[in-house]
Every structure is written in C-alpha cells, then in structure tokens.
C-alpha cells in the first residue's frame, strides 16, 4: 500500500513534467509525418477496411453493422497493444536521462499510456461519426463509456507497469510480446462474436478481460444497452492488484535500474 501512496505523492510532484512530456512527445510524433493528426483517424479506419475485406468479402461472414462491430473493438485493441509495447521499452528508452536525473520510474510507462490514450480518444470520436454514417442511433448509454474507459485504462496501466519493470532485465521481451500480443488478438472476440464459440468452451473466453471490455463497448455503442458492470468490477479489482504489484517492483528497483541500463 505504501508504494501506492508514494506514487500519488510523486504524481503531484511530477504532474507538470508528466503533462508537458506527454504533450511534447505527441507533438514530435505529429511533426514526423506529413498528415499529422489525420493519421490518428486514418490508422484505425484503414485497419477496419482491411478486416472488412478479409471477413466480409473473403470469408463471406460478419453480421449486420459489421464495420461498427469491428471498429468498436479495434480501437480499444490498438490502445492496449501500443501502450503495452511502449511501456515495456519505457525505462530502457530513457536510460540517458535516468543516468543524470532522478525520476520515479512509474511515470515513464504512465506517459506512454497517456500518449496512446489521446490517440484512443480520437478513435472514439471517429467511432461516433461512423455511428451516424451507419445510422446507428445514439442512446443515453453512451454516458457509460467512461466506466469502461476507466476499467480498461487501469488494466493497461497494471500490465504496463509490470512490463516496464521486466523490460529492463529481459532483452527478448520485444519478441515475446510480438507473439503473445498477436495470440491475444485472435483469442479475443475482436473480429468475431462470442456466439461463434461453442457454448461448452465459451467460459474460457470470459477469462480474458478483453471479452468483457469489448462486449461492454459494443453494448454501449451498438446495442444501446448497459456495459457488463459485474465482470467490469471484477476486472477493475484485478487491475488494481496488477497496478500495486507493478508499483511495488518499480519502487523497489527505483534506483537500481540505473545500474543495469
């Protein structure tokens, strides 16, 4: 518990640094491309088109409103992968700064997550436009987006903190992540609905937090119903545990990373 307290104290102390670094890294990323902001919109749209092509035309599958169905899972997926991958490299990538200045280490994966969160929110705006385009009505349940958002954010931070720690010591983590994340993508109901899974084994899918998160987003945006509050609460508790484990390690090794990076 004490590392959580320390994290909150350090957050207050480094708030300006966190915000300014997030902003400037976003700015750097924008200035490195010609289209800038447009890529944040184009990127998920392109992916959606690719999967529409594969699923609707080649496999002749996908139900009503399939583009929205895919998009509402694809945007959260992109947010998860990019944040996790960036977090794993976050401490090592800042080694030259860390050799000269003390920074609490957890703010590094946090900054990476905030950068990806900004892009994610852009993706959600695109989704809102797509809803109009596909004549899916807005409902009051859109307000419940923030609940799902908070649960997913804490899940990402939990995984990100732990991987930021591991990323310092295991050189091969990039390769392992590449494979693991691809596997995770296909075992999550991103491109298919849960009803495609035989009922006997369907419970296995619910052990994956993304099943709950995707279903909740689809409920909000597509079905006009409430998110799955019960499972969300469980995954939130799970994420808080991950966050505390991650913070515990990041603070335990706080000034020892600098000896190895």
């Amino acid at each position: 518990m004490s590392s959580l307290k320390k994290a909150i104290q350090d957050f207050k102390k480094y708030k300006e640094y966190i915000l300014f670094t997030t902003k400037s890294e976003l700015k750097v990323q924008l200035s490195s491309t010609f289209l800038g902001y447009l890529w944040w919109i184009l990127d998920p749209l392109m992916y959606m088109l690719v999967y529409m092509l594969v699923v609707m035309i080649i496999f002749k599958s996908g139900g009503e409103n399939f583009p929205i169905f895919v998009f509402s899972a694809l945007v959260p997926w992109k947010w998860t992968v990019s944040s996790i991958k960036d977090a794993a490299k976050s401490i090592k990538g800042k080694s030259s700064i860390l050799q000269q200045v003390y920074l609490p280490k957890y703010i590094l994966p946090l900054i990476k997550t905030l950068i990806n969160t900004t892009k994610f929110l852009f993706g959600i705006l695109v989704l809102l436009v797509l809803l109009i385009f596909f004549r899916v009505p807005y409902t009051v349940h859109l307000m419940e987006f923030f609940v799902v958002f908070m649960v997913q954010l804490s899940l990402i931070l939990g995984i990100g903190f732990i991987l930021a720690h591991l990323g310092v010591f295991f050189k091969d983590i990039d390769n392992i992540l590449d494979f693991t994340l691809r596997f995770w993508f296909y075992v999550s109901p991103t491109l298919y609905g849960l009803e495609k899974i035989p009922e006997k084994v369907r419970f296995i899918w619910w052990l994956n937090p993304l099943t709950t998160i995707y279903t909740s987003y689809r409920n909000i945006f597509l079905e006009g119903t409430s998110p799955l509050y019960g499972p969300l609460l469980i995954w939130f508790a799970f994420s808080v545990v991950l966050i505390s484990i991650g913070l515990k390690y990041l603070y335990k090794f706080d000034k020892n990373y600098t000896k190895v990076i």
């Binding site: 640094y17 670094t21 000896k259």
Partner: protein, 253 residues
C-alpha cells in the same frame, strides 16, 4: 546550528554483472553440478564515510574506475546504495547535466521547458528564468527553431545555459566545464566559477588536478572504492601526486 551539508556513513555499493548465458556451458554445469553462478559482483564503493560542511567545495579525485562518478550519482539520488546512509541537510541537490531530455524536433524554447521540468524545476520557475537563459545562450531568434537544426556548439550553449540557471543548494559536477567556441568557453567557465564560489556546497569530480586546485578547498581521494584520504586540498594533492608518480615508476619497470 547544524553546519553539515551532507553526511555519508558506511556507504557500500556493488554492481552486478550477469554473464550471458552459454547453452553448452549451462548443460555441462547441470551434469557436473558446478555451483558457479553467472553473476559477478564488483564493489564500487566500500565503507565510504565523510562529512561535508555547508558552503565548502569538495573535489573527488582518484584513478580511473575508483568509484568517483558512482559516488556522485549515489549522492545525486540516482543509484541506490546497498548499505549505508546519506543524509542531506540542505534542500535541493542536483547533478549538473547538459541537455537531459532534449527533443531534437522541438524548438529551443520548448526544450528549455522540457529540460527544466526534467531537472525538477516548476513551470513558474522556468518562466522567471527564461529570458536570462535565452540571453546567456546567445541564440537570439534561433531559439524558436527546432534544435535539430542547431550546430553542436549551439546545442551545448543552450544546454549549458539551462544547467547553470538551476542553482541548487548542493551542486554536483562531473567533469563539466566550459563548452562551445573559445569566447563562450571563457564566458561559461567564468560563470561556473562564479556559481561555485558563491555560498554554495559543491562536489565535483575531475581528472584535472589544476582545476581541483583552483576550485576546491577540500579533496576526497578515492582508490578502488575506498576513501584513501580526505582533507585540505594542498595536503591531499601532494600525497596524491607522489602516489601517482610511484605508480608510474612501477609501471615503467
């Protein structure tokens, strides 16, 4: 009134090196039941203790690999000691660094904020010092251009200007002296000297004995992680020079 700035007690610090895994050797080891581990430990600091008084300028000397920089970084809160204590009685302490966190794509102006925040300034403090920093760097309107367009001299001028405007109570310096072309070098060395001679506690690492002689009133001599001597500059430097001469003669034979 407590007059000590820093009190270091029985400080120990080790580096762990992990030898890369060799499959063949690992297999052989499994069969031979060899207990040898892959980690190798090196003690960089061994039982280091000393007290630094407020306002004094301490130079750390010693041959290569004697733990000077390690000691400085441990005091700067970057390394965790394995045992021992460092008690700092003054408010702010920071290592003089050049350009930590610079983003080449951003303008010099934005990089002042980025670098300043990285070094622990608040935005307000930077606002106050901004004009001074820009003026000292002599960059003029270039300050609004991305620093990837700067020459290396311009970059180090900017970095140096930010660094010397930090003014902590305890300043740690690791071989950073004048930068840039001759005229800026003179200006920056002069400014640095001014900061050092102010009522500030300074700890510096240097290989240049003349610099130490010039700037420090006290010298800490480290050898292989152990404090060999600690005292007034003149005395210690004399012993040190003699020791180095003997060492050189031994090597010569």
């Amino acid at each position: 009134m407590n007059n000590t700035a820093i009190e270091v007690k029985n400080l120990n610090l080790k580096y762990k090196f992990i030898k890369s895994m060799n499959m063949k050797k690992e297999l052989v080891k499994m069969f031979m039941r060899d207990g040898e581990t892959r980690t190798k430990e090196v003690w960089a600091l061994k039982d280091v203790s000393f007290i630094i008084e407020k306002g004094s300028n301490v130079g750390i000397i010693g041959s290569n690999g004697s733990g000077k920089t390690t000691l400085l970084k441990t005091i700067a809160n970057i390394f965790q000691p394995d045992s021992g204590e460092i008690q700092v009685n003054q408010e702010s302490i920071s290592l003089l660094t050049l350009g930590a966190g610079f983003q080449p794509e951003l303008s010099g102006y934005e990089n002042i904020y980025l670098n300043g925040l990285t070094l622990g300034f608040t935005k307000k403090e930077i606002d106050k010092k901004l004009d001074e920093i820009i003026e000292f760097s002599e960059l003029g309107d270039f300050i609004y251009n991305p620093i990837r367009t700067y020459s290396s001299g311009m970059k180090s001028r900017l970095a140096f200007s930010i660094a010397i405007h930090i003014e902590p109570d305890i300043l740690l310096i690791d071989e950073v002296l004048g930068v840039g072309d001759q005229s800026f070098k003179d200006k920056s060395t002069a400014k640095l000297k001014e900061i050092i001679f102010q009522d500030r506690t300074v700890i510096m690492v240097s290989h240049s004995l003349s610099t130490i002689e010039d700037l420090c009133d006290t010298v800490l001599w480290l050898e292989k992680g152990i404090v060999k001597a600690y005292g007034p500059t003149e005395e210690i430097l004399e012993d040190y020079k003699e020791y180095m001469n003997n060492l050189r003669k031994k090597r010569g034979n």
